[in-house]
């Protein structure tokens, strides 16, 4: 029971939820606003994280510069992803994006010299050294922590500092994106989501808007990848498998289409459910070991996905009428 009140634990849950929130905001732009079925979103996360780590460890680029380049790399990837959409129908595009994201993961897995291979980022400097990209971040986090210490006192552990940093970024993302999606630009995106032929017939350059949507969405994915890398201080290709994309889809569907502020809420709910099962240490769950609890969690997530599709396809925060009109 004492774990239930453990601030460090909940800080971790909160931070990871925040990272997923940013990741899902990117997907929301692509799917919720533009109607693009991107099932390979995790690739942008991978590209963000790996670009930064490779630049820091191998090329000795300072952390902040490497991070900016990583975001740019993610956006470039998103732009490239728009090429298949030009000629593909929605569900074919979905499958193509999964294939592309798995290929990215595969490259990360097999190009050991570039990415450290299956052993992950610790292998980036070669088998003789344990590589670290995190040093600058750790000192940044420590200074945030000491600032927080002055503000809120003894509660501020390093996990708490991370939590604050992540959610400040979430807030910034929301503040930047909200006016953009409510602008005429956002209106064109929504038109494309509804019927891209109609949008084209009104003179809108549909391909360009799709490219922008995918690119910016991938940029958010890359930011999420960076924060993921900083949070866990180590990652490997396994961290970027399709399951992560599906979690983002779950969050986006919980939030409802075209709702930006609902996404972080969805991410928190998701994070709570995910880690909440940890606390099922009462019967009958005590008969299960940790692995089995993890499987149970997967079953619960699958059931929630189906339940959402069956009973609340508009998400927790969407409007029913919009669904009926679909």
């Amino acid at each position: 029971m004492s774990q239930l009140l453990n601030l460090e634990f909940w800080s971790l849950v909160g931070a990871v939820s925040g990272i997923y929130a940013i990741f899902s905001i990117g997907l929301q732009l692509q799917f919720g606003f533009t109607g693009l079925l991107n099932f390979g979103h995790v690739a942008s996360m991978a590209i963000g994280a790996y670009t930064m780590a490779i630049l820091v460890v191998k090329e000795h680029v300072p952390l902040w510069g490497a991070s900016l380049i990583a975001i740019a790399a993610g956006m470039l990837f998103g732009a490239a992803l728009s090429l298949p959409t030009l000629r593909l129908r929605a569900d074919y595009f979905a499958i193509a994006t999964i294939a592309i994201s798995e290929t990215v993961r595969y490259v990360a897995l097999n190009e050991q010299a570039l990415t450290g291979g299956a052993l992950g980022t610790s292998n980036l400097a070669g088998p003789t050294q344990v590589a670290e990209y995190n040093t600058d971040w750790v000192s940044f986090q420590a200074s945030v922590q000491s600032w927080l210490h002055d503000v809120v006192g003894g509660y501020a552990g390093s996990d708490f500092a991370m939590l604050v940093i992540v959610w400040v970024v979430v807030l910034l993302c929301l503040l930047v994106l909200t006016p953009v999606v409510h602008s005429p630009w956002g209106r064109v995106l929504r038109a494309i989501r509804e019927d891209e032929d109609a949008a084209a017939a009104l003179g809108k350059r549909v391909a360009m808007y799709k490219l922008q949507s995918l690119s910016i969405g991938a940029g958010f994915g890359a930011i999420a990848g960076l924060l993921y890398a900083f949070e866990f201080q180590f990652f490997s290709p396994d961290d970027f498998d399709p399951l992560t994309t599906f979690y983002a889809w779950l969050i986006v569907l919980i939030a409802g289409a075209a709702r930006i502020w609902a996404v972080p809420l969805g991410a928190l709910i998701f994070g709570l459910i995910f880690s909440g099962t940890r606390f099922f240490n009462f019967k009958p769950f005590t008969y299960l070991d940790a692995a089995q609890l993890a499987y149970l969690r997967m079953i619960v997530i699958g059931a929630i996905l189906i339940a959402l599709m069956a009973w609340r396809p508009q998400g927790l925060f969407g409007k029913r009428e919009e669904m009926v009109l679909e």
Binding site: Y106, R297, M298, G302, L305, I306
Partner: protein
Amino acid sequence: MTELLQLIVNGLVEGSIYALGAAGISLVFGPLRIVNFAQGDYLTFGAFAAVLANVDWRLNMVFSTAFALLATAALAVAIEFVLWRPMRKRGAKTMSLFITSIGLAFILRASILFAFGSGEREYRVNVFQSYSIGGIRISEPQLISLVVALSAIVATALLLARTSFGRAIRAIADNVDLASVAGVDVDRMVVSIWVLVGILAGLCGVLAGLIQSSFDANLGFHLLLPLFAAVIIGGIGSPYGALLGGLALGLIEEVSTWSGFLGGVNPIWKPAIAFSVLVAVLLWRPQGLLGRARTL
């Protein structure tokens, strides 16, 4: 030359398994418009049902396979009644059904993990027995799989082409409303389709497990993307196309490593080959080999 022939034989072994799995996906998509992301886990279910029969109950592989086919068919029908039919009655469209199938995939895979654990499993067969035919090596599991799979492929193709059942399936795949107006009992046909799909998926899973010598609960999921690739290569909406696409994909994957192709592709890239072919087909010939060109 023998290298090339060896690769072709390997390709046929892989490809025939792909073909069975792909046919299952195609048969579900045509009439039901479901892109079934859980199909991989139907395969895994079949493989593990056979493990149960073969390892725990000590039945021989023939009976175990038969059990697996029945069990998977039963699973497929049960899911139809519990999930797909109610969702369809609610008016769920392709997108909702796709996401539902993802949820189903989670549930199935986690259930299998729950029941069997995450360790590797294998059948009680002799994986080391192999034959050499004209300089070409083929292990006993591979040979059995090839023969069984090819027979199943031929049987399925004949079923689709020559029987009234097959005709009804193709009618529904073309146009559900028209088919029901023409007197086809769509609801019953759907159940029959799931039975067939269950059998194909179960067989595919068992054979995939057989030639891999050991496998875990991710068996089906790892096959899923190559299977989708095979369906698209062969042409969405054509079960024959899926069969053909599966064989083609298997051959492409293996033969691409032939040293005659400028040294050949490094074998670790084989899964990436499937994806690259998939993307290429989607870009240049989206209707695949046997699909109809649609005005996109």
